[in-house]
């Protein structure tokens, strides 16, 4: 799992961006809110002056705002909201939306058709399958139920009997939103439970027999398990008859030799995890050992990507350039290194040893020994003093999380003398910080790292809890889509409201691509250009990176128009919720990482913000609408 800089932010860093307030979520929220108010007033005035004349129109707008604060907001009664929410819920039930759960069950039952049973990492496959399926099903459902309900009530005129009761527009909107969110919850809970059992049961298996057993000369055994579910494990047992198998397909088993000489093989372990990472600060050192903030660029990797998301700052062009984290590479056999400094390394958190996980990339400048991976080493160092442990060599496992443990006592050098070092006494500084250095040992080969490539793992959460958090994230998306659906349905007909909501969702999903396109246009990079230029290139079958081959004037017109379109799209995409970020939590669960609390809190805050915004817009559009027209 490759994290971006913003993934490391704490909630507060995200919300306020100390030192870079222009990038903060708070500012984005404020700007959106102010924009909504200004646009709302403008549109409201235009509509009501068309209705009542320019002078009266002004008062009509003023009255609408006064009514909102003086009567409708304080007059909103929980009982009415709940009654309307219950009605919305019942209506959704009547529309048989619960069948979606049935559909989900069918999808799970038929999963064997499209999930590869021989996958190398079935845990990831299953988890990302259930989460993706849930996510899209629930979003589609939210889209449907939220966009059609209100227009239908207005069309059937059942609305007449509602609005002629002392029901506030606030209550109608809130009731719908809450009712549909309740519906979404009722659907998500069984889906979550089914997913949990599907994943757990799907990964569960037992090996029964032991093959090719060899008794080791020094005591203990070496052998292989039988072939179950397309795999088998190798294992070694110690003299005490205890041991674990090697990790195949993301899990291992405990093997015990029983007194009667038979072997008992335990259930799979380690397939479903929720590692809680503790990340550190990273710097690179170049081949001569000098500090370097990027590492070596080995090729096209650095070209991809644009600004990342940086809110208002990015939109107005204050922040530019690279915002994505890319792998920087260290050269093997030189002084080049990646240094990670971790905080909070205390005996309480790491009583026995220090678990460290690595996910490094390898770049080979020559084929070398293709049987084995590239070699690297880890050493621990005092952050400021020249005390360093001896390097621990390892072989890089490129596509998996490489789980290592660092011992608490290790031989190393203290200045010039060599002695036995204790991590907490000799290597950790007063503030509890420890530096870990990763080097590449093969000359002429390279190892790539990002700040998320190495982390200490002081604890683990349960998979069930992590899946719950992933579902909470889906819930938030559902709430967001519901709010937008209800908002659009206050002034559009059902199908149009649904399409509008779908456009919002899709634009949210392609936000990053829009940002990238703008980045290329701003920076003058030929990457196919905006929509018109791309169309021209498609028709002419030109490559993306060549100069646009039309005459100068035409090129100017095309590029200017494109820039206009892309800037508008960019503004829209910045204003809309960043859904892919929220879908991204599925990747955490699938990769076996605990979903960061800060990340979930950020999503929750953003969702709340958008729901409130949608609620206010809905109120005014509904209020200014002639229900009987």
């Amino acid at each position: 799992m490759n994290l971006q800089p913003e993934d490391f932010w704490s909630f507060q860093q995200w919300f306020l961006r100390p030192g870079a307030f222009l990038e903060s979520a708070a500012l984005k929220g404020i700007v959106l809110f102010v924009l909504a108010v200004v646009l709302g007033l403008l549109v409201g005035y235009v509509i009501s002056s068309a209705r009542y004349g320019s002078g009266e129109g002004f008062y009509a707008v003023a009255r609408a705002i006064r009514d909102f604060f003086r009567f409708d907001l304080p007059g909103t009664a929980p009982r009415r909201v709940l009654a309307l929410a219950r009605l919305a819920f019942k209506e959704a039930v009547r529309r048989k939306v619960l069948y979606v759960v049935g559909l989900f069950v069918v999808m799970l039952l038929l999963a064997g058709w499209y999930l590869n049973p021989q996958s190398d990492d079935p845990g990831r496959l299953y988890i990302s399958f259930v989460l993706t399926a849930t996510n899209y099903l629930v979003l589609a459902l939210a889209l449907f139920i939220s966009a059609f309900s209100l227009p239908e009530d207005i069309k059937n005129r059942t609305m007449y009997t509602i609005v002629t009761k002392p029901v506030r527009a606030t209550e109608i909107v809130l009731g719908r939103m809450l009712g549909f969110m309740a519906m979404g919850t009722v659907i998500l809970v069984p889906m979550g439970l089914l997913s949990y059992f599907f994943v757990v049961r799907g990964l569960d298996h037992t090996h029964y027999e032991v093959e090719e057993l060899v008794e080791l000369p020094g005591g203990g055994y070496e052998g292989e398990t039988d072939y179950v579910q397309f795999h088998s494990h190798k294992f070694t047992l110690g003299e005490d008859g205890l041991g674990t198998t090697n990790s195949v397909r993301g899990h291992r088993h405990v093997v015990i030799r029983q007194p009667d000489g038979s072997f008992r093989i335990g259930p799979p372990e380690g397939a479903l995890r929720a590692r809680v990472p503790s990340y550190g600060e990273m710097v690179f050192r170049d081949r001569s050992g000098n500090l370097d903030d990027q590492g070596i660029d080995v090729g096209s990797e650095r070209l991809a990507g644009g600004y990342g998301s940086a809110g208002v700052a990015r939109l107005i062009g204050v922040t530019g350039g690279q915002r994505k984290l890319l792998h920087g590479y260290i050269e093997g056999g030189t002084l080049g290194a990646a240094e990670f400094t971790f905080d909070n390394v205390t005996p309480e958190r790491y009583p026995d040893n220090i678990p460290i996980d690595l996910s490094l990339r390898a770049y080979r400048s020559y084929k070398g020994d293709i049987e084995t991976g590239i070699r690297g080493s880890i050493s621990m160092k005092h952050p400021s003093k020249p005390i360093e442990s001896n390097p621990i060599p390892f072989i890089v496992d490129e596509y998996e999380v490489d789980e290592k443990t660092l011992p608490l006592n290790i031989e190393g050098t203290d200045g010039t003398q060599t002695r036995e070092l204790n991590v907490f006494e000799d290597l950790v500084d007063e503030e509890g910080r420890l530096t870990v250095i990763i080097r590449c040992l093969d000359r002429g080969q390279y190892l790539g790292a990002t700040p998320s490539s190495a982390y200490l793992r002081p604890e683990e959460n349960t998979f069930a809890w992590n899946l719950t958090k992933a579902y909470a994230s889906i819930w938030l998306q559902m709430a967001m889509v519901t709010a937008f659906g209800v908002m659009f349905s206050t002034f559009l007909t059902g199908p149009v409201a649904m399409v509008a909501t779908a456009v919002v969702v899709l634009l949210g999903f392609s936000a990053e691509q829009v940002y990238d396109t703008r980045h290329y246009i701003d920076a003058g990079i030929n990457r196919g250009g905006g929509p018109i230029e791309s169309m021209v290139r498609l028709i002419r079958q030109d490559a993306m990176t060549t100069e646009l081959d039309v005459d100068t004037l035409a090129a100017k017109v095309i590029k200017t128009t494109d820039a206009g379109i892309v800037y508008v799209l960019d503004a829209l995409a910045t204003a809309l919720p960043n859904l892919p970020k929220m879908v991204g939590t599925a990747e955490f669960a699938a990769s076996g990482f605990d979903i960061f609390g800060a990340l979930l809190a950020r999503h929750a805050t953003a969702t709340l913000g958008y729901v409130v915004l949608a609620f206010i817009i809905s109120y005014f559009t509904l209020k200014s609408r002639e229900i009987a027209a």
């Binding site: 068309a50 209705r51 009514d67 009567f71 409708d72 007059g75 009664a77 009982r79 009415r80 709940l82 009654a83 309307l84 219950r86 009605l87 019942k90 209506e91 009547r94 059937n156 005129r157 059942t158 609305m159 007449y160 009997t161 509602i162 609005v163 002629t164 009761k165 002392p166 029901v167 506030r168 002639e626 229900i627 009987a628 027209a629």
Partner: protein, 331 residues
Amino acid sequence: MDTETNVAVADSPTGAATEPTTNESVVIETRNLSKIYRDFWGRKKVHALKSLDIEVRQGEIFGLLGPNGSGKSTTIKLILGLLFPTSGRVLVFDKDAGETQKNERIGYLPEESYLYKFLTAEETLDFYGRLFDLSAAERRDRVSKLIEMVGLQGAKSRQLKEYSKGMTRRVGLAQALINDPDLILLDEPTTGLDPIGTREMKDLILGLRDQGKTILLCSHQLADVQDVCDRVAILHQGELKELGRVQDLLKVQDITEVHATGLSDDAKREIAELISRHGGKLESMDNPTATMEDLFLNIVRESEARPGARRVSQRPETAEGQPESDSGGSA
């Protein structure tokens, strides 16, 4: 022959009007109210209502009368705030029609009962009770009373989609009364009802008036309007054509009507002479025919009293001796 002798001398052929005790306070007031329907581009489509000025006073039954498309429903919708006036104002309880708070005191029965078909009658009423923020105890109480009042005890737990039109209409009426409103707006209250239902609806309306409630109804069923309304406004093509008390509007000034029972033929002859002696002109004197409504209601009432008995057997008696009240014609 009926032995009862009952001479009624009435100014109006309606039996309805005991003088309404109208307190002069105004419940609904429209001032220069106009409504123009426009299409999407803002072009004028229909001028549905032109400068309407009416006042509905507390405690009266006010009828809006007119053919289809005359602006009756538009007026009601403007009063309810379902539509916004193009110009002019509507005041309900001295508040602008656009304000939600006025609805606390209003009950509205729409033209067709636009209710949620997937709810039962009980759930429907409970739901609307919640919309008035009534407590659970109050809701339970009112729901059961209203269900009894509209006679749906036997069907209260059935979904509305199984209901006949008349039953839906009753639920509609019950939901309009859930908040014990002071002002009741009825849009075509008798459409879709059978004669008994119509009669009951009319009695109910009168009963509500007697409780001091103000009622505005619109209808094109002239007989209904005549039977229950104290005052009517007649609309045509969006314009107010006539406004006044029903009695005044319908009174035919130079005709006198006398109803009497137990008169012999001699007596009738004498009355005719009397009239001509006073210079009057006898236009007709015969037995009035009962209305189809009366006949129908009689049949039903009797069959309920004696279920299974065939009506036909006793029919000739009444049919031939039809005038149970032997009456003097008009002179």
